[in-house]
């Protein structure tokens, strides 16, 4: 949970900062594109997370994406297979690739790095040979199939509404299973604390669900500006569009000024109260993180105050005097961005993390969580065009996949086995776990996700060049998984973090574009941000370890 808060903080920060510098970031067009690409990369990252959890690595993802993206149009357009059959066939091939990787790694004891590196080379070469390096696409005849990637089934407002209701129902079901005194061995005060914590987190789920549903549907029950059709129509949007009926996307730009101001004015004090109460709950251990939070806030304020005007006024071909050096406006902008992203991004990214790492927040501040989420969403809806932005189809697919993957990882014995063998394969084997089979499963899942990603990427772009399609995607996926809390040593990781990690990668990329920074620096900036994240991770781990030692010693 701590890690998710940290990476989520980083995402929010990068979004906010980019918006402050250029508000076209929150325009409908940009929001739609960013969410779509985040979802596409999210799918790949979820897959590779399973492999990373076992302590392995899959370098072949990009090439599998390329191969699948070549095979699908070949089968559909050239060979005349039905779209359903073609999708099934390429998924089977992807699964077989994963099976092959898994078997080579477990039966022949080859190293994952070597096996998948060979895969990277082989599938790329094979795809190029197969297609004779020619560009492939679906043309205009397969728009029904292409809706999988470019469909816009509903707006984010509907999504919030539907998601809120689902969350509410899940929360209520979960409350029914809540049993008191789960940990009868904790001493009385700790017991009470744990009890409160558990109850609060259990109750906050349906509460957040209700609030999200209310926020999502607000423009109807408050009678605000009209949105793109009724929710029902929007849900049916996918089918309607496939029938050739246009659904308006621009009917509403901003929901309402009420939402904007109410959200902001409620959110800021809620956040402050959250921080203050968290600090009071465990003052001794909170000092360092709090100092870090205050320091970074001051730094952020300085940045906004000093750098934003500078940034906005700097044009690419200006000359600026910095100390003894004369630099171009572009270089200046880039420099400013680097400083801000790396220093402040790294620090702010760790705030939420540190709060929960050093003495968990008090019951009071935990009680604020639903309010924090709700007001945050209100502010978000009020300030951006998110409510009216359409949800890309890949986002729905990714969310469904993430939920299934999350349940698999956390609620089934197989997920537990993956985590256990990732941490300590020998101990897992000694506990009667068929570790080899589980490792094969992880590689199959990874390649299947890569296959699904490949299908969607191909449908999305509609023009596949075998030599370069999907290049480096494995590295984006691995970076997202690592940012999201997977350890390359294995045994660690959660799906939500990975998905947010993928979003951070895309938002960073988008920010670099939208702020007019040279795209040549794309890799350099992303690299530095990930490095900052990794450093924070290590530091926080040490803090957590120290706390755990103290706790163990108190127990004797």
């Amino acid at each position: 949970m701590n890690k998710i808060l940290g990476i989520f903080g980083l995402l929010i920060f990068v979004c906010l900062f980019t918006t402050v510098l250029n508000d076209s970031f929150v325009g409908q067009y940009n929001l739609y594109n960013t969410t779509r690409w985040s979802a596409l990369f999210g799918i790949l990252s979820i897959g590779v997370a399973f492999v990373i959890i076992t302590g392995g690595i899959d370098l072949s993802i990009g090439s599998v994406v390329g191969l699948v993206a070549c095979l699908l149009p070949m089968l559909v357009v050239e060979q005349g297979y039905s779209p359903t059959a073609a999708v099934l066939i390429v998924m089977l091939i992807a699964g077989a690739i994963g099976l092959l990787h898994g078997l080579l790694i477990t039966r022949l004891d080859l190293q994952p790095f070597v096996v998948t590196l060979c895969g990277l080379l082989f599938y790329r070469g094979f795809a190029r040979w197969l297609t004779d390096d020619g560009t492939l696409g679906f043309g205009q005849d397969y728009d029904g199939l292409r809706l999988l990637a470019i469909g816009k089934p509903c707006s984010w407002a509907t999504m919030l509404f539907g998601g809120g209701i689902c969350l509410f129902l899940y929360g209520v079901w979960n409350l029914g299973r809540l049993r008191p005194h789960d940990d009868r061995h904790a001493d009385a005060p700790l017991q009470r604390e744990l009890d409160i914590e558990r109850k609060l987190s259990a109750w906050s789920i349906p509460a957040i669900g209700v609030l999200l549903a209310l926020a999502g549907s607000s423009r109807f029950w408050l009678g605000w500006e009209s949105g793109p059709g009724t929710p029902l129509l929007e849900i049916a949007g996918y089918q309607i569009r496939s029938l050739g009926i246009e659904v308006s996307e621009n009917a509403a730009s901003m929901p309402s000024t009420v939402m904007k101001y109410a959200g902001t004015f409620l959110f800021v004090p809620t956040l402050l109260a959250f921080l203050v109460w968290a600090w009071q709950s465990d003052a001794g251990r909170m000092k360092k993180p709090l100092a870090l939070v205050i320091g970074s806030l001051i730094l952020l304020a300085l940045c906004v105050w000093q750098l934003v005007p500078l940034f906005r006024s700097a044009a690419a071909d200006d000359r600026w005097q910095v100390g003894a050096m004369e630099v171009s406006g572009e270089l200046l902008k880039t420099g400013l961005m680097m400083i801000v992203f790396v220093i402040v991004g790294g620090v702010i990214g760790s705030i939420g993390w540190l709060i929960s790492a050093s003495g968990t927040a008090s019951g009071k501040s935990k009680a604020l969580t639903p309010a924090l989420v709700a007001t945050g969403v209100m502010a978000l809806l009020g300030h951006t065009q998110l409510a009216a932005t359409m949800v890309p189809m890949p986002m729905l697919i990714m969310i469904a996949l993430a939920i299934v993957a999350s349940i698999f990882l956390n609620r089934t014995v197989y997920g537990r086995y993956l985590l256990a063998l990732g941490r300590n394969e020998e101990a897992a084997r000694y506990s009667g776990i068929n570790t080899k089979r589980m490792i094969v499963v992880a590689y199959v899942l990874c390649s299947l996700a890569a296959g699904l990603g490949g299908i969607l990427f191909a449908l999305d772009v509609n023009s596949v060049q075998p030599s370069g399609f999907g290049n480096f995607y494995e590295l984006y996926a691995i970076a997202a998984a690592v940012l999201g809390g997977c350890s390359l040593r294995g045994g660690e990781g959660n799906i939500l973090g990975v998905v947010i990690g993928a979003a951070v990668m895309r938002v960073l990329y988008n920010a670099i574009n939208i702020l007019g920074i040279s795209t040549k620096l794309e890799f350099a900036i992303i690299g530095m941000v990930i490095l900052a994240g990794a450093i924070v991770d290590v530091v926080v781990k040490r803090i957590v370890a120290k706390r755990a030692v103290l706790a163990a010693e108190e127990a004797g």
Binding site: R179, D182, D183, R184, H185, A186, L190, L194, R411, T412, V413, Y414, R416, Y417, L419, A420, R423, N424, E426, A427, A428, R429, Y430, S431, G432, I433, N434, G491, E492, A545, A548, V549, A551, A552, E553, E554, A555, G556
Partner: protein, 515 residues
């Protein structure tokens, strides 16, 4: 050497109130130690008493948390192994630290190779190595690869290496644990020779008989603290042991009632819980092993390190595949292709290395306890039953008295004894019929040891068959109804009841007699 010769030579090495903590353990507390020039100081104590930690600090492997180290009465900080070597302190590890792919000479000069014209000067290495090897009485060609030497000879190479850097303090950690009698005697001669040359030796050993013959002075440690010092005539077995365990020895290890299960079995025609016939363990293909364990019986396996005891348990548990023979559980012949099969037929193994094989050390107590039984209790074969998981965890915590702040504490931060109880808890959650324990009390404190003994007794009384391996003679003698002794992969004998004694076990374990 700077100290003045005389009747009262000043100490070469002094340690003052040294302290060291590890996650969850206080390894050393207020340790004082003095070492005179040319002295053999033996350091004795139970497993986990902190001997190895203290030596690692002296050798620069780990830094101390508090306290002072003085050499020639000057305070020093030993930040690295290289620094320790510069100060003349060398540690010879329990597991030898030689690169076995390199030659003897290359090992002796590893890291400080003499060069000529920028290239390694092989001739000098050869010449010098021969000289140092001769001084430890080892007649091997410096060009020989280390892996071609026996363990005993490799140890001599280590000593030669230490001498080659003019070591003044030589720390030997359990040097004889894997040596044959003859090799050990050769080693003693070398140690005595070192003393005469003014080299001080800190000698760590569990074998108290060795200590009696070799040591000028004995320092005893217990639970990370000083527990007394013995000089000259005071050095004898009982004095050492009573200080090591900190109470009257005779009362410590004692089973309330031994079961003569063999007699019981023939009376009641019981089926053995575990019956092994002519099993050929892959690590020792020359020998066939046969024995049986009755329900309710505690059978100990004694032997020296490398006798094949761990390998036998691993083979029984399906980790390795036997080359022949059969295993019957409750009269049924079983095929154990992997640990999963073994668990399915009612076995549990508490392995030798609990951090590597017993536990997922970064998992919580809850996840560790449930790991083996998870799939049995899973809904529809895949859904984790968290209620059952909690129930098992709390039962284990209660029954084994695991000291942990919550059931969700990460196991890494528990003490060794509590970690071991978590491993036991994992198997108890399975309701096993046969429990295999490999060094169940290694590295855990005395209180926890006693609890584990009591638990073994209770479980046996409930009808569990227990087979345990231990290198602690007293433990085997005290706990087993029957003792099996192994020597180099061979089952050299079986002792029942009053026959179980130190001398009998030692004779069988060293291969002196066989029956």
């Amino acid at each position: 050497m700077s100290q003045t010769p005389g009747k009262n030579p000043r100490p070469l090495l002094e340690v003052r109130s040294l302290g060291k903590r590890f996650p969850g353990v206080r390894a050393l507390h207020q340790i004082d130690l003095t070492l005179m020039p040319g002295e053999v100081l033996a350091l004795v104590g139970e497993n986990g008493a902190g001997k190895s930690t203290l030596m690692k600090i002296l050798a620069g492997v780990q830094p101390p948390d508090e306290g002072q180290i003085l050499i020639d009465q000057k305070p020093v900080t030993i930040g690295s192994v290289a620094e320790a070597m510069r100060l003349g302190i060398t540690l010879i590890h329990q597991e030898l630290n030689l690169s076995d792919n390199l030659s003897v000479g290359a090992n002796i000069f590893l890291g400080r190779e003499p060069t000529r014209f920028g290239l390694i000067d092989r001739e000098t290495i050869d010449r010098e190595s021969r000289r140092h090897l001769a001084s430890v009485g080892l007649d091997v060609d410096p060009q020989t690869l280390v892996r071609e030497l026996t363990i005993g000879r490799q140890q001599m190479v280590e000593i030669a290496k230490a001498l080659s850097i003019d070591a003044r303090v030589l720390i030997m950690d359990e040097p004889t644990s894997s040596l044959s009698q003859r090799e050990a005697e050769a080693l003693f001669k070398v140690v005595q020779g070192l003393r005469e040359h003014g080299v001080s030796v800190i000698y760590i050993s569990h074998r108290l008989a060795e200590v009696e013959t070799l040591a000028d002075r004995v320092a005893v440690m217990r639970d990370g603290e000083n527990a007394g010092e013995l000089v000259g005539d005071q050095i004898n077995h009982d004095a050492m042991v009573s200080r090591m365990v900190g109470r009257d020895v005779s009362r410590f290890y004692e089973r309330t009632a031994r079961v003569d299960v063999a007699a019981l079995g023939s009376e009641q025609q019981l089926t053995p819980a575990l019956e092994v016939s002519d099993l050929i363990v892959p690590d020792h293909p020359k020998h066939k092993v046969s024995f049986q364990v009755m329900p309710g019986e505690i059978v100990g396996i004694a032997g020296l390190v490398g006798a094949g005891r761990t390998e036998l348990l691993r083979c029984l548990f399906g980790v390795t595949q036997p080359l022949g023979g059969s295993v019957r559980i409750n009269g049924q012949t079983v095929q154990l292709r992997n640990p999963k099969d073994a668990i399915a037929s009612g076995m549990g193994l508490v392995p030798e290395d609990r951090k590597e094989q017993g536990l997922v050390i970064d998992f919580s107590v809850r996840s560790n306890v449930s790991l083996a039984s998870l799939s049995d209790k899973a809904g529809a074969g895949m859904w984790i039953d968290s209620a059952a998981e909690s129930e098992d965890t709390h039962q284990s915590i209660d029954r084994l008295r695991i000291k942990t702040p919550t059931a969700d504490q990460v196991v890494r931060y528990l003490s060794g004894g509590n970690q071991q109880k978590v491993v036991l808890g994992k198997w108890l959650a399975m309701n096993p019929k046969i429990l295999l324990l490999d060094e169940p009390t290694r590295g855990i404190d005395i209180g926890a040891k006693e609890e584990i003994y009591r638990l073994m007794e209770t479980l046996a009384a409930e009808g569990l068959a227990i087979l345990f391996v231990s290198s602690e003679m007293e433990e085997v003698i005290a706990m087993s109804d029957r003792t099996l002794v192994m020597h180099e992969g061979e089952m050299t004998g079986q002792l029942v009841g009053d026959e179980i004694g130190e001398e009998q076990i030692m004779n069988l374990a060293t291969g002196v007699v066989s029956r």
